[in-house]
Point group: C2
Chain length 389, copies 2
């Protein structure tokens, strides 16, 4: 409890843009997010009053950080499960817990749990050798998707292989000379993808659940470039099925806080792709596009406050990521100027990051009545910030 | 320019809730508001990363603060004009300028300027003696409104007098033994009030103007308790007249940043009551209720960015202030809990202030289709936070 305000202190491990935007939401709730950052240049460290520095892998740093926090939560999934357990054993309220978070940290564990729960997943297998991959590929058909169980994001740690030999060529042969014994691989069938969807759901320790409308996520080169909410032309029965699946998973896995369920829409229905247990890029549209943003909702959930309204604020909401591009001689400030002159209604979120090619440096959200119009505006706005034209 | 981000640094003198909410808006624009606060308990100091401490009346402190700011602006009107001029002479970009701000600092100057500009104002006069008040009252009719030219707010520094002798009784007789020679008084006719309205307009140094829909403000005991946007049942011609008046005043006075024009609606039209040159309580509804909040708009204006869309996000928006009440044994955290359980759609903004009776500690905004419903919800939400019931 912050004795100055009579309101709780939420600590977030990790100082990236998710912590940055959570801090904005915390301010409205009368709070000031406590952030464990790595460097003073971290996006959240640039803007938050209450910042400590340390590594998320350092239990002593985590213990110091947790002192005086009413609840501790995460901006990423990289805190080791044993540290989370140690903090919980110290009496720290920490959400999500280690068991739940494991399913967002390790794709093999996630696939295993989802299979046990009967959730729809692609056919998959742990792969310990080229022969096992060959056998799996023969069963499900080539090409096959191979992933590292841990550490991948934004298309990294994922390969599409046409033959088992490509595992060797990619330096991933578990028996090969360059193999890292710590790297576990899983293989998955390549599903017939109609498109990708995402659902955010929040769950409180009390067990209250609040699910957002289903959004469509559009990827390019494995990176999400655009999110459309609600997912256009999604039959209501499928939307409800996706929401129910997110609710069931949040409950079954005992998630506390935000759960983002990334889904593949396939001809026959839905398949779970990934899980994230924190505010997620696929939910940034909620800042302006829903009555309660995913950041405020995550705070409410981990604090065991009642959940906020997840309703849409407009018929069509589009979020476009802004990736660092070539600067073309024009700084980000000048680009912003031009964008604002071009579209007074585009809502910009910049993360305070140095521009580097391909790096997510911000996002733009546009709301309106007509999806095509809104989508064009969002894409144009993101391009202005990316390329200055 | 913040070399870490390539984005400008805006400095705000004053660390109250306006700076606090401006910081939230700054974060989205990739910035971190630099705040000159008085104490670490100031609402903005609790949440901002870049805080300096000093008095707004101390020119040396202001000069130190302005160093490295791309532009300096204000959370209140109390910085002396000579200090603003000194900073401008140093080459500091400071908005609004001293000449414009004088009209928000001194009601006699404001009334004089508005009279010169032909803007609608109540009949008024500077009052230097009981006899002058008696003469004025005879001309315009009793009761008469008497105000201190400087320093009043939330109903303080305003008296409604039935006779000239009450000036003596109130200890305000300029010739009386307790008179403060620094206090200037003005008298105004008491207008036939239909209701009070407010218009926010932003103006950039380039001269671009963006005006918001007209809102109705509801006062109780001289304190604004509720703001309804758009002002219900306001004829379009009168709404346009109010917006045009705000635009004309912002231009004529050379305001840069936000200008809040508080108006009396009278049977024959509109009369200007007060001016504020900063984000203002009567514009808090814009955070959720307009496409661009007044806080973002103020930043855009002082930075000479193009203005944002001022359109409404819903047909009916109501903001209710939360005043500190008796705690009834229930802390603010518990009240918040109950409120969220009661109304998942109410948007809460708490300012990080200690609860004291009558003090504005936050506000609540509710959006929807039906004004009566939205208004009831906002009032109930504010009451929950105020009284815990």
């Amino acid at each position: 409890m912050d004795t100055r305000t009579g309101l709780p202190v939420v600590g977030m491990v990790g100082g990236g843009q998710l912590a940055r935007m959570t801090h904005q939401a915390a301010i409205a709730l009368g709070q000031s997010l406590r952030v464990l950052a790595r460097t003073p240049e971290d996006g959240a460290a640039l803007v938050a009053a209450d910042v400590q520095y340390g590594e998320h892998t350092d239990l002593a740093a985590l213990r110091t950080f947790a002192k005086g926090c009413d609840v501790v939560t995460f901006d990423h999934e990289h805190v080791p499960g044993e540290h989370i357990r140690a903090l919980a054993a110290d009496g720290v309220r920490i959400h999500p817990g280690a068991d739940a978070l494991r399913c967002a940290q390790d794709k093999a564990v996630m696939r295993q749990r989802l299979t046990e729960l009967g959730a729809p997943v692609p056919r998959w297998r742990r792969i310990g050798s080229v022969d096992e991959l060959a056998e799996f590929g023969t069963e499900v058909g080539w090409p096959v998707v191979v992933k590292t169980a841990r550490g991948g994001y934004d298309g990294r740690g994922v390969w599409l292989l046409d033959t088992p030999d490509e595992l060797v060529a990619a330096g991933l042969d578990p028996a090969g000379p360059s193999a890292d014994p710590a790297v576990e691989l899983i293989a998955e069938e390549r599903v017939k993808l109609v498109r990708e969807l995402a659902v955010q759901v929040a769950r409180s320790p009390f067990g209250q659940l609040a699910v957002y409308p289903v959004a469509e996520t559009v990827q390019r080169d494995g990176i999400c470039v655009e999110v459309l909410a609600p997912a256009p032309a999604l039959p209501q029965s499928r939307a409800l099925a996706a929401q129910q699946l997110a609710i069931d998973l949040a409950s079954a896995l005992g998630v506390v806080g935000l759960l983002a369920v990334e889904l593949f829409e396939v001809p026959g229905g839905l398949v779970v792709n990934e899980l994230a247990m924190r505010p997620h890029n696929s939910g940034h549209w909620t800042i302006e596009g829903a009555r309660t943003s995913q950041f405020e909702q995550h705070l409410r959930a981990v604090l065991d406050y009642p959940m906020g309204d997840t309703g849409l604020t407009a018929p069509a909401v589009v979020m476009a990521n802004v990736l660092g591009g070539a600067d073309g001689g024009m700084g980000i400030d000048e680009r912003l100027h031009h964008l604002f002159a071009t579209d007074p209604g585009a809502k910009v979120h910049l993360y305070g990051k140095q521009v580097r090619p391909g790096r997510k440096i911000g996002h733009v959200t546009v709301l309106g009545e007509d999806l095509t119009d809104v989508r064009n505006r969002a894409a144009r706005a993101a391009r202005w910030l990316q390329e200055g034209r």
